[in-house]
């Protein structure tokens, strides 16, 4: 709590601000950063509005995303069995983390926003996880000999002629 109240003291010294350092805020702080009664609505500890991400970091994240996209395409050509799915998802998670942390500023943002986001992901995991366990727990039909195969309207290609 204290850090929110003593907002001006935690502001980086004016002399220490270099143009593109990732942890310094370039936006002028102005006279509007003094109120702080509600913790997660009060001014940021680094003062000013938001955080200016250096251009080199944005470009680096972009390059990493393109490389990871190439990697996921290449990896998909190699047959690794079940590992393929997990590998593809792992790469996607890494890419998503890069986007969320740097493009979406969550790395420098208020922790409460991260809490909202991670909380949402927890609910998504719960939702999909429980649905998956449930879907595996049922048999297709209670009637013997029934429901072994779903039948489609379309006659499958390569099926024996009737």
């Amino acid at each position: 709590m204290a850090s929110y109240q003593t907002d001006s003291s935690s502001r980086p010294a004016a002399g220490g601000q270099k143009g593109d350092s990732p942890h310094l805020c370039e936006a002028p702080s102005g006279p509007y950063g003094q109120m702080g009664t509600v913790p997660f609505l009060s001014p940021a500890a680094h003062a000013g509005l938001g955080h200016v991400v250096p251009l080199w970091l944005l470009a680096a994240v972009f390059a990493a995303l393109v490389v990871l996209t190439g990697l996921t395409v290449v990896v998909a050509q190699v047959d690794l069995g079940n590992l393929n799915l997990y590998l593809a998802l792992a790469i996607a998670v890494v890419k998503a983390s890069l986007v969320v942390m740097f493009f979406m500023h969550l790395f420098w943002d208020r922790p409460f926003n991260s809490m909202v986001f991670v909380g949402c992901l927890l609910f998504v995991t719960l939702f999909i996880g429980i649905c998956l366990t449930d879907s595996k727990a049922n048999q297709a039909s209670a009637i013997p000999g029934q429901g072994k195969e779903m039948s489609g309207a379309h006659t499958p290609l390569g099926s024996p002629a009737k």
């Binding site: 936006a27 509007y32 251009l55 996209t69 493009f103």
Partner: protein, 302 residues
């Protein structure tokens, strides 16, 4: 009470874009940002319903996905991924430009982002059109004439039945028709390129280029054991719903980006007024985020 009094006294001094119910610009910005994050949360939860459907169907019937994903073009999907990532990059850069008050750069970057969204939808249109022409819909609209490209169903009448003879015939025809055509072997290796310039190499004893082609064929062709699985149409139901909902989000993003461009042209964005750009950016990155998962889940299945 004294806080209210000071706020009232300071009324004439506060910036035009600071709403009365906020104490400071910081508080206004942080509230807006929290609001956008909550909105993105609801978006993720909405998409998670579709992701859940995908997960359940893939767990129960993996064969549908293993078979049907061959109908999708990895090249188009990868291109769209890169286009969307690039648009995310220009959007993040646009937020930076707005924060630094670089109006011209901001308008330019927003326009590039908008153009990328157009390219994305254009590619999506090409893909959807191909699906439509091949009768690859869902439900009763799934009536393909052929197995997916690269998939061989033994016993299925068609040009893909005998890969060995088909390949040789297919190789001989273009070589005979267009002797001066560019070699189909990889150009990276000069020796291979020279070798494949000789037209009869394709029909005569296997040259380097033919070997390469055979290997490529072997790598790409999938021998599907047994007939097409049942209910492949469900894959296309999922495909169209997921990419369609994502596409609607792209269109919504384009609308707000266009609105931002008109605002940015007036030069209203600056160091203490960039929230609109920032928040649209957050939304746009979420659209990118969804696609980052959709691409491997739909296009890259093995």
């Amino acid at each position: 009470m004294s806080d209210i009094a000071t706020t009232l006294e300071a009324h004439d001094e506060h910036p035009e874009h600071l709403a009365h119910h906020f104490e400071s610009l910081s508080q206004q910005y942080d509230s807006g940002k929290l609001g956008i994050w909550l909105f993105l949360t609801t978006e993720i939860l909405m998409f998670s319903g579709l992701f859940c459907g995908y997960a359940v169907l893939r767990a129960l019937h993996p064969e549908i996905f293993l078979y049907a994903h061959h109908y999708l073009s990895v090249e188009w999907g990868a291109l769209n991924t890169v286009v969307l990532i690039f648009s995310s990059f220009t959007m993040a850069w646009a937020v930076r430009a707005a924060q630094l008050g670089q109006t011209k750069l901001l308008v330019r970057l927003l326009s590039i982002t908008f153009a990328c969204a157009c390219i994305f939808l254009g590619v999506k249109f090409i893909e959807y059109k191909a699906k439509w022409e091949e009768s690859l819909g869902t439900g009763k609209y799934y009536n393909p004439k052929e197995a997916p490209p690269g998939v061989i169903i033994p016993g299925l009448e068609g040009p893909k039945e005998k890969p060995g003879t088909k390949e040789a015939a297919g190789e001989a025809k273009p070589a005979a028709a267009k002797p001066s055509a560019a070699p189909r072997a990889p150009d990276s290796n000069a020796a291979v390129g020279e070798k494949s310039d000789i037209a009869p190499a394709a029909v005569g004893p296997p040259g380097l280029s033919k070997l390469w082609l055979e290997r490529k064929q072997l790598r790409n062709d999938v021998i599907w054991h047994g007939p097409e699985p049942n209910n492949v149409q469900l894959f296309f139901g999922i495909y169209f719903l997921m990419t369609g909902l994502h596409g609607i989000h792209v269109i919504a993003g384009m609308v707000v980006i266009a609105w931002l461009i008109t605002k940015a042209r007036k030069g209203i964005f600056g160091p203490d007024r960039f929230a609109a750009v920032d928040f649209v950016g957050l939304y746009w990155h979420l659209v990118d985020l969804v696609w980052i998962f959709l691409f491997p889940m739909l296009y890259l299945i093995s």
